[in-house]
C-alpha cells in the first residue's frame, strides 16, 4: 500500500466524540499516522508480519494503520472504554480482523508485565501537559519493557534532551527519525486559538 493510499484510508477512521481533557485525548492526524507507519515499515520493516502493541491507542488510528500494513496482529491498550468502543467500531467498519483491544492502566503495570512479548511498540502517548506530568516517560518505560525490537513514539521536541538522558540511563539507543509539526485544531472549549502547532519528535528506541 502506498503512503497516499494509507493516509486516505486513515482519514475515514472515526476520532474521539467527546475527548477527555484529563486523559489528554487528541486524535493522531491521518497524515502523521500514515507517515509514521509508512516509515516504520518501509525503512525498518517493523510492522509486516510482526506482533505490534499500540499504547494509549485511543480510537485506534495507529493500530488500524498497522493492520492495513499487514501486521501479524496489533493489540491496542487504553484506559478509556469510550475510546476503545470507537476503536472497536472502526475495526468493524474497516473489517480489520487482526487487531485486539485491552482496557488497562499503563501507568500502573507491574514492572515486567508483557515483558518482551511484542516485536514492536508504536504510540502517540499523552505529553504530560494536563496535571499528568511525567506521563510520557511512564508510557515510554512500559513500551521499552514490552518491545523486543523497537519502540516508536512521539514526544515534544522540547523534551528531547531529557528523554535522551533517560535513554542513556536505561541503556537504550534513541534516534530522532523526524521532526514533525503536530497541528492540533481547537478541540476543547478553553482553546482560544483555532489551532496550534507543537514541535514533535518522531523517535525510535532500540537496544543499544
Amino acid at each position: 500500500m502506498k503512503l497516499k493510499e494509507l493516509e486516505s484510508c486513515l482519514q475515514q477512521v472515526d476520532a474521539f466524540e467527546e475527548p477527555k481533557i484529563l486523559l489528554e485525548q487528541y486524535p493522531t492526524s491521518p497524515h502523521i499516522a500514515a507517515c509514521m507507519l509508512y516509515t516504520i515499515q518501509s525503512t525498518f520493516d517493523d510492522i509486516e508480519g510482526k506482533l505490534v502493541a499500540d499504547l494509549g491507542c485511543g480510537c485506534g488510528v495507529l493500530s488500524i494503520g498497522a493492520a492495513m500494513l499487514d501486521a501479524g496482529m496489533c493489540v491496542g491498550f487504553d484506559i478509556d472504554e469510550d475510546a476503545l468502543d470507537i476503536f472497536r467500531r472502526n475495526a468493524e467498519e474497516f473489517e480489520i480482523s487482526n487487531v485486539d483491544l485491552v482496557q488497562c492502566d499503563l501507568c500502573s503495570l507491574e514492572p515486567d508485565a508483557y515483558a518482551k512479548k511484542f516485536d514492536t511498540v508504536i504510540m502517540n502517548p499523552p505529553f504530560g501537559t494536563k496535571h499528568n506530568q511525567g506521563m510520557d516517560m511512564k508510557f515510554l518505560k512500559a513500551a521499552l519493557t514490552m518491545a523486543k525490537t523497537a519502540v516508536y513514539s512521539l514526544h515534544k521536541t522540547s523534551t528531547r534532551e531529557h528523554i535522551q538522558k533517560k535513554a542513556n540511563d536505561w541503556g537504550v539507543k534513541m534516534e530522532v527519525i523526524a521532526e514533525l509539526r503536530y497541528d492540533l485544531p481547537a478541540s476543547y472549549k478553553f482553546h482560544k486559538k483555532k489551532s496550534v502547532d507543537i514541535q514533535v519528535d518522531f523517535l525510535r528506541f532500540s537496544k543499544a
Binding site: V75, L84, D100, V102, S108, A113, Y114
Partner: protein
C-alpha cells in the same frame, strides 16, 4: 479478546503471587476469519505458554485436536500451523470474564474487550 492476547494477561491484584493463567468464563464466543500467515504463527509459538493456550482453548470448547504438547518440526507443518492460527487469532471471546486463579477476582470482558483495571484497594 483473542487467545494470543489472553496468553499474555495476568492478574496483578495486590498480594497475588500467581495470577496466571486467567481462567476464561465465556458467555459468547465467535470465530472470525483472519488471514493465515504461517511465518507469523510459527514465530508466535515459542513465545506463548503452550499449556495455557491449550487450556484456554479447552475452556472455550474450541480445542478440537490441538495437541497438549508441541509437535516437532512444527515450522514446516502447515496443517499444524493452521490449527494454531485458528486458536490464537480466530477464536474470540466477546462476552464473559477472566478469573484470577489465586484471588478469584473477575475481570469482565464486554464487546470483546477485557477490562484489566484494578480498584484503588487492589493496587
Amino acid at each position: 479478546m483473542k487467545l494470543l492476547t489472553h496468553n499474555m494477561l495476568t492478574s496483578h491484584v495486590k498480594g497475588v503471587t500467581k495470577g496466571y493463567p486467567l481462567l476464561i468464563k465465556a458467555t459468547e464466543v465467535k470465530v472470525n476469519e483472519v488471514e493465515f500467515n504461517p511465518q507469523f504463527v510459527s514465530r508466535m509459538i515459542p513465545k506463548v505458554e503452550w499449556s495455557s493456550l491449550v487450556q484456554a482453548a479447552e475452556q472455550l470448547g474450541h480445542r478440537q485436536d490441538l495437541p497438549g504438547e508441541l509437535v516437532p518440526d512444527y515450522e514446516n507443518n502447515e496443517e499444524f500451523l493452521k490449527k494454531v492460527h485458528r486458536v490464537l487469532l480466530e477464536v474470540e471471546v466477546i462476552e464473559g470474564c477472566l478469573q484470577c486463579p489465586e484471588s478469584g477476582r473477575e475481570f469482565p470482558i464486554s464487546r470483546g474487550i477485557p477490562n484489566m483495571l484494578l480498584n484503588e484497594d487492589e493496587v
